[in-house]
Symmetry: D2
Subunit: 337 residues, 4 copies
């Protein structure tokens, strides 16, 4: 049994990690810690776990006192907190899957620009592997440090990768994304207040969301040249679910059949990508690790419109982290799901 | 034009007061204040008012500096804050409609027991009029100080009053109430966090809710003897709306027709009570000042089951306050609605 | 591997049965059928199953042509349809778990009274076992025909059983229940129309709901004397979840500790009952087979108030059916969950 | 008092028309009719109206027997039904505001292409005035027949008009729109079933929605050259509200200040357009006739991103119809709101 530790247990990513790991046949949750006032059974924090998993969460008191019994550490911490801890865990011989954004951007300057803080572990950036299994399975296998992708980038990169990789589309991509409110975190605020969100819909951070450099980095790597993403995230009045609608311009004419074939070929052996012949809906991926994708040629305007849907807490966070773990330890990618 | 002031502008009661008063032909909102960092246009606090009502809210700095230009003050303040201010406003010759609980209980000892604080203006309790217009229209007319009823008590007292007044039912009433989340206030908390409420339902404060003594006081007054209320409030995952289901035991047999006739007679000239021949639903009273009531004889068990529905922000708070104002100034009760 | 058949695949009970059975290590779904125009992959009916379970559902053409390869048949059919088919399946040597109400009432006259139709298989009523495992585990073990309980009765019987069994409460129980809208079925109607339910709340079938005789039958059996249930079901604007608030009168004084101890003892070895020291919420049982129960002495009024919560599709329907199957075949009760 | 008739009373547009008209000081609802089995009080169809407006709706039996007492007819009928009736009403000397799509497209061939039916009153198309008051106030004034705009086109045309009119942007506009479910109508279906929409989000009719030719017609008229709209509508799990996010490419560089100034100037005397300096949200326009607009220069990508929000039943349908009526009869545009 692989012994895993989870750091940052009070948020939704921590919750969802436990939900998935409890079904996994090859691992044992050996340690959990978070910002707590005193050691607390996880079932007191999340009532769902009562009678299923009553293990106690520890008060987190620093990287040096956490995870000694663990082979693998999941970091479900806020951005900027993770980067301070990763070096210590690596030095102690642990493998790390970091669900924060801290090791996603290859470029420390870009991190400083978008996150308004200097990267304090920049020397680890070259080693960190961007944990999108559909693109980087081989590198994930041997990684010590996984930068688990953002939720929006997961929908967008998976949605566009086949077109980008084959050089079929122009360099500018318009992305209109919608996320459930669990994406805004578990901390109460005016934004997450029920009355402010129910029977309401809005957008936020248009053009300035921090997932933009992550998308552009990965799509540009795929393209071999710079890709620009115009990105508008919206806040859906639902708990879980994310859907992105992407608008791409073909360089030269293609038929719907050609596009479909390209996607089929690109994702033929990827267990968590489902290519649909109708528009995806978030309910169909709820609490699953699937990314549902629909690619559509709008003949009238010669645009390609792609719609992709995930559960932002599963394929958009904790499910993808477990998928990465499965690959790191040579297990079937779908184990535990 | 009557000049009114609203104190406590950042909560839902304040918001709803403005919504109603803007349609009222005989009043002018002369002053507004709340806990703000600096003077702020109301349309910056609530986007709904942009271009309709851009008046500035003042920073509240004490009762002595507020409301000088006003004839009537609406207090939309938390419990315990109101009672400190009311004497000063009355002394300055203002009439006051207090939306908090501070002047609802006639008995200062009961207030201390349920609100865990001594009443600091107990000498005003005899004068304060419980502002339920369907029962106390005459006293409201000449009142200086109105204690605007709680939302739950409004549904329960209106729902049971005809049976209680006619002495038809036993002294024990079971009340199972459900409230939309605006009832929990505008302050962000774990309770009001969207993800915690959406696709969820629960009860709270069963048997210990502070509206219990208010219901028992008013129903006992109506009965002329002590009435006991067993009360369970629940939290509905909707914004606005409140529905109470009440279970009463008949002292002696009655027919459905007799019950219906008693309600018809009791509420015959009450413009905001609607007696239905089907079960009410909250959507039908949304953003209205109506209380919809259905009285039903369960012949099989000889119980009377009453269902009443209101909008907790309108008839359950601000609408009722405006209805009281209309009566105080001799206007048609329905003016502004 | 046990071969099971599912009849009635297009409703939510059928959907949920598949969700649970796909995780079950000892069974194989051998046949599925429903009211379809032509054989249809289940993943075309419910997109969730795509790539996980693409088996074809057959067009149902009568009991004689269905389930020949199966050991056990789940009937997820409407009331009144089931009773016509059960005899044929039993004659063919199948065991049957019927999710409809057709075999729940022991008394054919009572069935006729509440369901407005003569029971056409009344001779099987004595043999049918009421499939509430917490009460009838031994009889379930050897049953040929299980009458899977209704969702409301599951919450009410489990919530009251310890008090009733010990003869602690009076014969009249008031039950105020709230159900998610999946309980109203998958057929579009004005009742299930989104706009009619969202931001809305109401009650229905107060005093006349068909689950009343089922509750009274089982509680009276437990009590050894007639129990009367006053029952008000409400329609919650959520998908899944059911919560019942029950009001009982103690025959003689008890302490909270005594009540808690009675519940602890009654449910000590029941894996799917969780006794809470706080009020349950439906989110904590969502997509689980748990029934969360809180028992509370209201000292002020000498009432016992019990709140119980389940997922109406899991413990309230398909989960309970699988729990029954586990017992019938000698497996651990929790297998597949 | 102007006497108005409403034809098609059972849908949401009819409902909302009544809600607004009941507040209007200069009109009287003289006749109402719809597809009913027998004459029915409107308060039996929509419980909201009980005690406020108990007028009876007639069974519709043909244009010749409806509206004789009326000056103005609102047609809240399905597409294709309206066009058969309009000629008769005009011949009888009535003015008509048609809320369907039948008279919005100037080109009968385009109607046939997108609505799959020949236009049977094509001779009236030249006379019909597209009832978007912010563009066509003068023509509306004297119109006999108003084609009330679609909800999506209202958000898109108002959102883009200043940029298009000034020739600042390229001919291709990407529009990503989201609509509340009341937009799907009052008829129950799988699409509008609560369980299928709650905690779910999806798109529909991408690239083929019938509002596309309407948007292109109006934007092209404004531009003086052909504009192409790439359009993706989505289905929001809320009752009322519509938000469109529009992506436009500048022909030459502009500053944010220049863009803001252009919008300020364009809409300076339009009472129902509110230009915001933050992203609109649907809650702020709920049950109002406002269109909230935010125009934003994304400097990084040189795109203009516009977000506009309306209530799809008010400014997107019935509110706009009443605004048109106000203009037709020389009243203040905002009367009744």
């Amino acid at each position: 049994m692989l012994k895993v530790g989870i750091l940052g247990i009070t948020g939704y990513a921590g919750y969802e990690l436990i939900q998935i790991l409890l079904k996994h046949p090859c691992i044992q949750i050996a340690e959990m810690a978070g910002r707590l006032e005193k050691p607390t059974p996880i079932s007191s924090i999340f009532g769902q776990f009562k009678k299923r998993f009553d293990m106690e969460c520890q008060v987190f008191e620093g990287a040096s006192s956490f995870g000694r019994s663990c082979d693998l550490i999941f970091l479900a911490l806020p951005h900027k907190v993770s980067m301070a801890m990763v070096p210590e865990f690596l030095k102690a011989g642990k493998r790390v899957i970091d669900l924060s954004a801290d090791f996603r951007l290859k470029n420390a300057a870009s991190y400083a620009e978008w996150y308004h803080e200097e990267h304090t572990s920049a020397s680890l950036l070259p080693e960190a592997v961007y944990g999108l299994p559909e693109l980087y399975q081989d590198r994930i296998k041997n990684a010590r440090l996984i930068a688990n992708p953002g939720c929006y980038p997961t929908t967008v990169i998976l949605g566009c990768a086949p077109l980008i990789k084959h050089g079929l589309v122009k360099h500018e991509i318009i992305v209109d994304s919608k996320s459930g409110i669990s994406g805004a975190g578990a901390t109460p605020s005016a934004v997450t207040h029920f009355v402010n969100r129910y029977e309401n819909f809005t957008a936020y951070n248009i053009g300035v969301h921090r997932h933009i450099p992550e998308m552009e980095q990965e799509l540009s790597l795929l393209a071999g040249s710079a890709i620009t993403v115009i990105f508008s995230p919206h806040l859906l009045p639902i708990n879980r679910g994310m859907l992105s609608t992407m608008y791409l311009s073909l360089k030269s004419a293609k038929t719907q059949d050609e596009l479909s074939a390209i996607y089929q070929e690109f994702y033929q052996d990827k267990p968590f990508v489902r290519l649909l012949d109708k528009i995806p809906q978030t309910a169909d991926v709820r609490e699953t690790n699937y990314c549902d994708i629909w690619v559509n040629l709008d003949k009238r305007t010669n645009k390609v419109i792609v719609v992709s849907a995930i559960d932002n807490l599963t394929k958009g966070a904790s499910g993808q982290a477990v998928q990465n773990m499965n690959i790191m330890y040579g297990w079937d990618e779908t184990l535990g799901f």
